[in-house]
């Protein structure tokens, strides 16, 4: 009888994917669903990619040069995507701009506007500084063409504009670029930390939620953000290099058909050393992230405050597989073992990075969904059922396909950005 | 604290029209009795006298101008809200006489036999 009523009832946001058990307060649903899981995941990738690129630009770890440039470009492709899950989640997406117009400074989410604008400007600036020499050279080449077609005319205009009038590519000018880039990257690291720290603060400061409320939350989020960003960059770097080798061998794409295109041997795949060093940093941050998460769990289990009974049931029983098997097991310990065992290869590292990304995603999932798995009454539960096949706009936006749309977009953007700011440059084309 | 807001919003909320009685609860029976007093005799304050007329007759809105007639809820479910017998001795509920809705004249509206304005069991039809 209850089911019959539900079919005719007006559906409330969250009802489509929430199953309530025992005593939950009437207004409780899982309001923050898969898109709110995607949001910290995507912003984490942004922050992590940036930190990886900064390891080279600021700390001068020369061996990370190629992957650093790649990470910077990828970070820029990820940036607009970070906003997508929020727009898909908002009940009033067209009013999203209100956050920029009347930011309410006591709210963590209000920081979004400032942090993102600042961070966007920093990344854009740093990219310009890195690619300025390339822009100038390409613009000059295109200007020298006698009969440019439409695409080439457009490209000529684009690259001319991108130089922003700074045509000097002498060694001193490039050296200045290098210095400015270092400063930008230096400023960028704390901003990147803030970018993801505030996302952790959004959850950690909600005193009403027994699972979220902990001062460790911002730090856990930052550490796992860096983990995910580094892992993604390693993975994409390896994959892109393999794709380039494939394209060179089969002579697909414009650059491959060119007579002086790099040969398969010259492309040599992902540089082994770069991947090894990057994955070392990955492991350091993995240790940090895991330590903090386990610490949080131990504290809860030891102090056993009022919420412990229901949290214990959620963590140890209902969500045991998601937390201990998927997140900690497959997502943390297994990749760590794969990488730490002697004889680490690029292939093993790549598999490890896939598992790490899965682990970080599960961490976001277990925090966001797990925090809503129990009722505020501590006497009931709410199960989350991810909508697979959408039957209306809401179940698309907050369902599997909405999440996949968000996940796929950075790659689409990267494809286009790569045409303007190629992630892989010949040595003499880049600023540094 | 945390109170920055668009001031005109308060006026917007204040201007929302009220549906239920504008006479206040104490005066509601007097308000209704002005026209309906001779038809409706509420026996004593102790029984149904404490129930505001609008609980069963719906919000007064602008009656008698608009709507001319109020919809009366004569359903069984309305009476069962209070008169389902629940075995709670520590609640005020114990003072309300109740029945088991699954066995007591199922399917029949309560008002067929009981007069809601004079609910005394002695004067029943």
């Amino acid at each position: 009888m209850v089911g019959q009523i539900a079919q005719h009832a007006m559906e409330v946001h969250g009802e489509a994917w929430t199953i309530k058990e025992l005593f939950t307060l009437p207004n409780e649903e899982i309001y923050w669903s898969i898109q709110i899981v995607m949001y910290p995941f995507m912003t984490g990738l942004v922050a992590g990619a940036f930190v990886l690129s900064s390891l080279y630009h600021v700390f001068g770890i020369e061996k990370l040069k190629e992957i650093a440039r790649f990470s910077l470009v990828f970070s820029f492709a990820l940036l607009p995507v970070a906003m997508m899950p929020l727009l898909l989640h908002l009940q009033q997406p067209f009013r999203g701009i209100h956050v920029m117009m009347t930011p309410h400074f006591t709210s963590a989410i209000a920081a979004f506007g400032f942090v993102f604008s600042t961070y966007g400007c920093i990344v854009a600036t740093e990219l310009w500084l890195v690619y300025r020499k390339y822009f100038v050279q390409t613009a000059l080449e295109l200007k020298a063409l006698k009969n440019p077609g439409t695409i080439d005319s457009f490209r000529r205009l684009l690259f001319t504009v991108l130089t922003l009038g700074a045509w000097d590519i002498s060694d001193e000018a490039v050296e200045k670029d290098h210095k400015a880039c270092k400063i930008m990257a230096g400023i960028g690291i704390p901003v990147a930390c803030f970018l993801h720290g505030y996302a952790g603060f959004i959850f950690g400061s909600v005193k009403a939620n027994a699972l979220w409320m902990t001062p460790l939350m911002p730090v856990i989020f930052i550490c796992s953000a860096v983990v995910s960003g580094v892992a993604l960059c390693i993975l994409c770097y390896v994959v892109v290099q393999e794709i380039r080798k494939f394209m060179a061998r089969r002579k697909i794409a414009r650059w491959a058909k060119d007579s002086n295109a790099p040969t398969v041997e010259q492309l040599e795949g992902a540089k082994h050393e770069e991947v090894m060093i990057a994955s070392n940093y990955l492991m350091y941050f993995m240790i940090a992230a895991l330590t903090l998460e386990i610490l949080d769990l131990i504290f809860r289990g030891y102090t056993q405050v009022k919420s412990w009974d229901i949290l214990r049931e959620v963590i140890m029983e209902r969500d045991f597989t998601k937390i201990f098997v998927m997140q900690y097991g497959l997502g943390n310990i297994l990749p760590f073992l794969i990488m730490v065992l002697p004889g680490r290869t690029v292939r093993r590292t790549t598999i490890a990075t896939i598992l790490v990304l899965f682990g970080v995603f599960m961490m976001r999932y277990n925090v966001v969904i797990g925090g809503q798995a129990f009722s505020l009454s501590f006497a009931g539960f709410m199960d989350y059922e991810l909508p697979i096949l959408p039957h209306n706009l809401e179940t698309y936006k907050e369902g599997l396909f909405g999440a996949l749309t968000v996940a796929a977009t950075p790659f689409v953007l990267f494809y286009f950005i790569n045409k303007v700011m190629p992630a892989f440059l010949k040595e003499e084309e880049s600023t540094h | 604290m945390y109170s920055y807001h668009r001031k005109s919003n308060e006026t917007e909320w204040a201007n929302q029209p009220a549906k239920y009685g504008t006479t206040g609860r104490e005066k509601l029976h007097e308000f209704c009795a002005e026209c309906h007093g001779d038809v409706v005799k509420i026996r004593t304050e102790k029984l149904h006298g404490t129930i505001p007329c609008e609980n069963c007759h719906g919000p007064v809105l602008n009656h008698p101008e608009k709507p001319e007639k109020l919809d009366i809820d004569r359903s069984r479910e309305l009476c069962l809200r209070c008169h389902t017998s629940l075995p709670y001795t520590t609640s005020e509920r114990k003072r309300i006489p109740g029945i088991d809705p699954k066995t007591h004249n199922t399917g029949t509206p309560c008002v067929s036999c009981h007069n809601p304005h004079n609910p005394s069991l002695e004067g029943m039809k």
Binding site: V2, A9, M10, E11, V12, H13, K20, F23, L25, P26, N27, Y31, L90, Q91, Q92, H98, V99, M101, T102, P103, H104, S107, I109, A110, S117, I202, S205, V206, K207, L376, S377, F378 | Y2, S3, Y4, H5, R6, K7, S8, N9, T11, W13, A14, A18, K19, Y20, G21, T22, R25, T50, P52, E54, N55, L80, C82, T84, S91, E92, R93, P101
Partner: protein, 257 residues
């Protein structure tokens, strides 16, 4: 790049500044003073009088246009039943919109629990609503300032400004807030602000036949509700969060969450 940033910032500032200015109506300070700024509304729930009839929930939904068939409500009544074999059952079928017409406990998912009437120890009903806290967690977290505490103590939501992020709903420890199913913005009990402004009682106070719900001006020492709060033993819900709720309860059992 700096030129571009500067231009971007300028446009943002101009856009941002132009909207709030156009949305505000000019407020006459004399009128504001005349509208009795010293009032602070507080709510008093007497759980010893509540019988679980649910007329308050029905009146609230009618008065405030919350659809009956939507599973959200601005106010609700919970039923607590303790059995003699030391078990506790709590339920709130549709927020008690239709009252309690079944002695069985609604466990959700279409399941019910039969309780032997001889096994029933103590049982009572607890009406709940937005507490209009003095230090509200919800207004603190709103990213756009769409929800606020008005001068008379009522916490309101600006329906035209709310972006529907749901942060206020997550931040409320009392689950008083929800997304309005039609308007798609955050919504909650407003103490019937529109009725208070006309000098009327809130819809739920109006509807309760047993006097379980009352409202008063906590700044007025002579208000009978304030007298009760000052002189009798009253409690509040979840005071460990420091939200300083302004809904007071008589007869609140410790186990009420």
């Amino acid at each position: 790049m700096e030129r571009r940033d500067f231009l971007k910032q300028c446009i943002m500032v101009i856009a941002g500044a132009s909207v709030p200015l156009s949305a505000l109506t000019l407020v006459d300070p004399k009128k504001v003073l005349a509208a009795n700024p010293s009032i602070q509304w507080a709510f008093l729930v007497d759980t010893t009088r509540c019988v679980g009839c649910g007329f308050c929930v029905k009146a609230c939904k009618t008065e405030n246009d919350i659809p009956f068939d939507a599973n959200v409500t601005r106010t609700w009544v919970e039923r607590y039943v303790y059995t003699k074999d030391d078990r506790r059952y709590v339920d709130s079928p549709k927020g008690a919109l239709n009252g309690y017409t079944d002695a069985r406990i609604d466990l959700g998912k279409g399941e019910f629990k039969e309780i032997d009437k001889d096994n029933v120890g103590k049982a009572f009903f607890v009406p709940k609503l937005c507490n209009h806290c003095a230090s509200p967690a919800c207004t603190q977290v709103c990213p756009v300032g769409a929800t606020y505490k008005a001068d008379n103590g009522v916490v309101l939501v600006d329906r035209k400004w709310c972006i529907g992020c749901g942060y206020c709903i997550m931040a409320c420890p009392y689950a008083a807030r929800f997304f309005h199913p039609v308007l798609k913005v955050a919504d909650k009990c407003t103490f019937c602000f529109h009725r208070l402004s006309k000098g009327l009682d809130s819809a739920c106070v109006n509807a309760c036949p047993f006097g379980a719900r009352k409202m008063g001006n906590i700044h007025d020492k002579n208000d009978p509700i304030t007298q009760i709060i000052m002189n009798e033993r009253v409690g509040v819900l979840k005071d460990e969060f420091g939200t300083k709720p302004q809904a007071f309860y008589i007869g609140l059992a410790q186990e009420v969450r």
